[in-house]
C-alpha cells in the first residue's frame, strides 16, 4: 500500500490559499499534504474532477448520552435506511439518528473528514468519547456544556471569575474537551423548576445571576484560556416567535469578542406566535455583516423527518406540547438538561416553509462566506445526508424558485427569497463547508490543501445537478489513505479525537472534592477521563498569542 499519492490534473479549490479551480497536482505523503511527491506514488487521475479539502462539520449531534437516547427512542427511524455488513465494514441502520459505524461511513461518502459533536454534559462525556470511538472515518471533537453549570453559577454569584476560569480549564483538561458550549444559558437551570428564561436580564433561581452575566463571564473565560475556537452559543428562546431580539441582544452583549452563534436560523424569528410568525433573517444578517467578530452556522431546515435533540429542556417540552409527539427528557445533575422530540418539517406547513426560507435567506444575505457555515444542526433541522440538497439550493437560483412553488403559498409574501438571485460559487461552497469552519475552529491542519495539512481530501465529479455532485465523492482521502472510491467506503479507518490542550490543575481538584461530595453522585477521582481511553488523539495548543 503506497504511503504516497499524487492526485493529477484535477481542479483544485483551496480557498485558504486562494485557489479557485486551478488545475494542479496535489501530493500526499505519510498522511500529510506535501509540496511534491518524490519517488513512487499511487496516482489518482483527477482529470475533469474537482478537488476540495475534506468537509468540516462545525455543529452536529452524532454521539452523546442524548444522541444515544434518541437512537434508542426511535426504532421506527432506523427502518428507513440500512447498511448491510461488508468485509471490513460493520452493519448499521438509521436515517436521522444513524448507528455509529453507519454515521462514519455516510459522512465519508459525502466527503466529510472532520466533525464536531456540538454538545456533551461533563458527567456524560466519558460516554460521548466511547461512542465517538465507534464512529470511524472522521476526526472529531466535543464541546462541553457549561452554560447552566451550578458550580459556575455559584462562582458567578460570588463574582469569582478566576475560579470559573480555573474550573472550566479543569473540565476541558479532565474530559478532553475541545470547546465551550452554552445552551440557553440560565434557561436550562430554570427548567429544573419547570420554567425558562425570557430575556437576558432575568435572574436564575437561587443563584440570582442572569443569562447576560453567564454569557459575558464564559466568553471572557474562553478568550483568557486562548481556546482554539470561540465560545459556541445556542442562544435563549430557540424556536420561539419574536426571538430575534434576544439573539441580537446576545450578540450585542458580546460585541468585540469572538463569538459563534449556533444554528442561527432557529433564532431569527419575528412575530408573536406561530400565526404571525415572520422572518428576521435580514436584521440578523445586517448585524452579522457589520460585526466581523461573529461566525454562525445556519441550522438549515430540510423537509422531511428530523429528530430534535438539544440540551434545551424547556424548548423540547414546548415542542412536545405543540406536536404531541413522544418526548424524552433527562435533567443532568449540577450541569444541564436534555430533551428529544421527533419532528417532521412539511413543505405545506407555513411555519416550516418559512423556517426553510429563513435559513436560505441567512446564507444569501450574509456577505462573507468565511463567517457563515453549512449545518442543519443535525438532526434537529434534518439529517446531514441532505447537505448536498442544501448546496444545490445555494448554487442554483432556478432550483430555489421551483421549491418556492411547492411550499405553502403564504411564505412567498413573507420572505425575501424570491428576490435573492445570488448563487454560491463552488469556491464559496468550499469555504462554508471546509475552509471557513476549519478556520473558525482554529484547526490549522484542516480545511485546506497546503503543505503540512492533514491529507483529508474530497474529490467530486462536476455535475450540473449539484446535489448529485456532492452526494457521493468519487474519492475521499483520509490521513493519506484512500477510503472512498466511487461513492463507496472501501476501507474503514479510525479518526482522531481532537481536544484543546489546556493545562491540568491539581490544586483545584482538592478544592472541588468537597463540592463534588455535596452535590454530585460520583467520586471526583472517577470524573476525569484518562488519555488511554482515546486510542487515537490529538491535542490542539491553547493559550493567548504572545
Amino acid at each position: 500500500m503506497a504511503s504516497a499519492i499524487r492526485i493529477k490534473g484535477g481542479r483544485v479549490y483551496d480557498p485558504l490559499h486562494g485557489l479557485n479551480g486551478v488545475v494542479k497536482d496535489v501530493c500526499v505523503e505519510d498522511g500529510k499534504i506535501v509540496k511534491e511527491c518524490d519517488g513512487a506514488a499511487e496516482v489518482i487521475d483527477a482529470t475533469n474532477l474537482v478537488i476540495l479539502p475534506g468537509g468540516v462539520d462545525i455543529h452536529t449531534h452524532i454521539a452523546s448520552p442524548a444522541v444515544n437516547a434518541a437512537r434508542g427512542l426511535r426504532p421506527e427511524d432506523h427502518r428507513l435506511l440500512c447498511c448491510p455488513r461488508k468485509p471490513g465494514l460493520r452493519s448499521g441502520v438509521g436515517f436521522t439518528v444513524p448507528s455509529t459505524f453507519t454515521t462514519g461511513y455516510l459522512y465519508a461518502r459525502l466527503g466529510y473528514t472532520t466533525v464536531m459533536e456540538a454538545a456533551t454534559p461533563p458527567i456524560g462525556t466519558r460516554h460521548t468519547h466511547e461512542e465517538l470511538n465507534d464512529i470511524p472515518m472522521v476526526d472529531k471533537g466535543v464541546y462541553l456544556l457549561m452554560g447552566n453549570n451550578e458550580f459556575i453559577l455559584q462562582y458567578l454569584k460570588s463574582g469569582d471569575l478566576e475560579k470559573i476560569k480555573r474550573y472550566v480549564a479543569w473540565l476541558l483538561h479532565s474530559l478532553k474537551g475541545f470547546g465551550l458550549k452554552l445552551v440557553n444559558p440560565g434557561g436550562v437551570e430554570q427548567w429544573k423548576y419547570g420554567k425558562d428564561v425570557e430575556g437576558l436580564d432575568e435572574k436564575v433561581n437561587h443563584f440570582d445571576v442572569t443569562p447576560r452575566q453567564i454569557l459575558q463571564a464564559l466568553t471572557w473565560v474562553n478568550e483568557e484560556l486562548g481556546l482554539p475556537h470561540s465560545i459556541h452559543i445556542h442562544a435563549n428562546r430557540l424556536g420561539v416567535p419574536g426571538n430575534y431580539q434576544v439573539t441580537l441582544e446576545t450578540m450585542r452583549a458580546l460585541e468585540g469578542k469572538r463569538v459563534h452563534m449556533a444554528h442561527v436560523q432557529f433564532h431569527s424569528y419575528g412575530g408573536e406566535d406561530y400565526v404571525s410568525f415572520t422572518s428576521k433573517a435580514k436584521e440578523m444578517a445586517d448585524y452579522i455583516n457589520g460585526h466581523p467578530n461573529v461566525t454562525v452556522d445556519v441550522g438549515q431546515v430540510v423537509f422531511g423527518d428530523a429528530t430534535t435533540i438539544t440540551a434545551d429542556g424547556p424548548w423540547q417540552y414546548r415542542l412536545h406540547k405543540l406536536t404531541k409527539n413522544k418526548w424524552y427528557n433527562l435533567d443532568v445533575e449540577v450541569e444541564t438538561g436534555s430533551g428529544i422530540v421527533p419532528y417532521t418539517y412539511r413543505e405545506k406547513n407555513y411555519v416550516n416553509a418559512l423556517q426553510w426560507a429563513i435559513g436560505l435567506e441567512t446564507f444569501l444575505l450574509i456577505k462573507d462566506p468565511w463567517r457563515v457555515f453549512l449545518s442543519t444542526d443535525h438532526p434537529n433541522g434534518g439529517p446531514f445526508l441532505y447537505y448536498p440538497w442544501i448546496i444545490k439550493l445555494l448554487m442554483d437560483a432556478e432550483f430555489r424558485s421551483q421549491m418556492l412553488k411547492r411550499v405553502h403559498k403564504r411564505v412567498l409574501s413573507h420572505t425575501m427569497l424570491p428576490h435573492l438571485s445570488r448563487e454560491y460559487s463552488l469556491y464559496e461552497i468550499a469555504i462554508i463547508t471546509r475552509a471557513g469552519p476549519a478556520r473558525a475552529l482554529g484547526l490549522r491542519n484542516k480545511g485546506h490543501l497546503g503543505p503540512g495539512a492533514d491529507a483529508d481530501i474530497a474529490i467530486y465529479a462536476e455535475a450540473k445537478d449539484k446535489e448529485e455532485m456532492f452526494e457521493r465523492a468519487v474519492y475521499v482521502v483520509k490521513d493519506g489513505k484512500i477510503v472512498v472510491r466511487d461513492g463507496e467506503v472501501v476501507q474503514s479507518v479510525v479518526g482522531r479525537t481532537i481536544f484543546a490542550d489546556v493545562p491540568g490543575d491539581d490544586d483545584l481538584l482538592t478544592e472541588l472534592r468537597d463540592q463534588f461530595e455535596k452535590y454530585y453522585t460520583v467520586e471526583i477521582g472517577n470524573f476525569p477521563i484518562p488519555l488511554e481511553d482515546l486510542p487515537f488523539h490529538q491535542a490542539v495548543p491553547t493559550g493567548r498569542p504572545a
Binding site: A63, P65, N68, A69, R71, G72, L73, R74, P75, H78, C82, C83, P84, R85, K86, P87, G88, R90, S91, G92, V93, G94, V97, P98, S99, T100, F101, I123, G124, R126, H127, E130, E131, D134, E150, K192, Y193, G194, H206, Y317, H320, K326, W327, Y328, N329, L330, D331, V332, E333, V334, I340, V341, K518, Y519, Y520, T521, V522, E523, G525, N526
Partner: protein
Amino acid sequence: MTVAKEMRVVKDVTCPFCGVTCDDLEVHVEDGKIREVKNACVLGKDTFLHHLEGLATPRIDGKPASIEACIEAAADILARAKYPLIYGLDSTELHAHRKAIELADLIGANIDHTSSVCHAPSLQAVQTVGIPSCTVGEVKNRADLVIFWGANPAEAHPRHPTRYSVTVKGMFTPQGRKDRTVIHVDVRRTPTSRMADTCIQIKPHSDYEIFSTLTALVNGHDLDVSEVGGVPLQEWRDLVELMKGAKFGILYWGMGLTMTRGKYLNVVALLRLCQELNRFTKFLGAPLRGHGNVVGMAQVLTWQTGFPFAVNMSRGYPRFNPGEFSVADLLGRGEVDAALIIAADAIGNFPAKAAQHLKSIPLIAVDPKESETTKVAQVVIPAAQAAVAAEGVAYRMDHIPLPLKKVVDSPYPSDREILERIIARVLAKRPDDGAKRAAPRPRR
C-alpha cells in the same frame, strides 16, 4: 520469621453488582486476596469478598481443557451455526460489549441481554411515549416527593435510598429525609415499606387501571367508581394532590410493572402520567435498572446497532423485534441452533422450556463462576470478573458511565480478550466473504 504481606488499598472502586453502581468503595487487598470492603452494601461486599469462590474451570464436554482449546471449540461451534444466539452480558463491561456485538455482526447472530427479561418492557414503553427523567443527583439535590412503585430498592438497590433518594442530603434538601415524603406502592409489604411515609397496597395486575385513573384525575376528570385496584378512589385523589403539590416529584418503578399483565403498557401509562404532571410541576420518572451493567449493554448495543435489545443480524444488518428476536421467544420456540452465554446465568433465570432448549443445543458458557449454565455447557471458558479482576466501563441506572478498576489479578483472560480471540478464530474459519445472505432457520 514473619514475611511482610503485600497490602494494598484501592479507593474509588466501582461496584458492579446492581444499577446503583456505587463508585466510592474502598477495597483492601492482601497478597492478591480481598480482605475488606468499605462503603459497600452487603451485596457489594459479598461481590468482592467472595471473588475467589465458586470459580469456573475451563473445560470441553466436561473434561479439563486449555483456554486455547476452549476458544477454538467455541469458534468452531459459532462458525458453523446457522442461527446462533449471543446472550447475557449484564455482568461485564463496555469493551466486552463491543466485542460481543462485533461477533454477532460477523456470524449473523441474534444478540440479546438480560434487560430482555427485566426492563425491556420499560424500554419499549419509552420508545412509545418517551420519558421525563433525570440523573440520580437531581433527586439527591431536589426531590421532595419520592414514590417507589412495584419496586423493592431496600433489597435490590440497598444504597439507593442513602445515596440518592431518601435520606441523602443535597443542595435543596439539606435536611435529607425530613425534606422528603416517601410513598411505597406495591402488592405486598416489603422492607422498602419501612422507609415510606405512606404505603398503598394494591391488587396484583391493577397498575394500568390505577395509572389511567391518576392521569384522569390530574387532568381534572373524576371517576364514577368507589375504588380502583382495591384502593378507595379518595386515596388516589389524595395522591394526585400530593404529586401536583410537590416541588420535584420522582416516580421510581421496578419489575412489579414489567413482569405483570400489561407489561410495557403498564409503563406507558406510568410515563404518560408523569408527562402530564409536568403541566403543574416538575415531575419525573425513572426505572430502577439493573442487575449489573444491563444499562451499559443497552447503551453500546444502541449506538452500534440502533436498538437496545433483541437484535438480530442474520440478514447482515440489525433488525429489532421484541417477541420475535427476544431471547425468551427464540428459546421458547426452539429456534436457535447454538448459543454463547456470557456474563449471565441464562439457565438459572429462564422459564423451564427456554432452559430446556438451551441444554439441547451446542452451548458455550463464559463466566467467572460456575452456574446453572456452566454446569451443562459443552464449552466452559472462565473469565476474569469484570470490575474485580478486569477493568473497563460500566453504566449506572441513570445512563452515567463510570470506570471499573482491576482490583485483583486473575489467571483467566477478561471477557473482552476472550471475545477478541473467538472473533479471530471465527475469521480464520470463515474468511470475510461478503455480505451474509439470509440463512434458513432450522425447522423442527
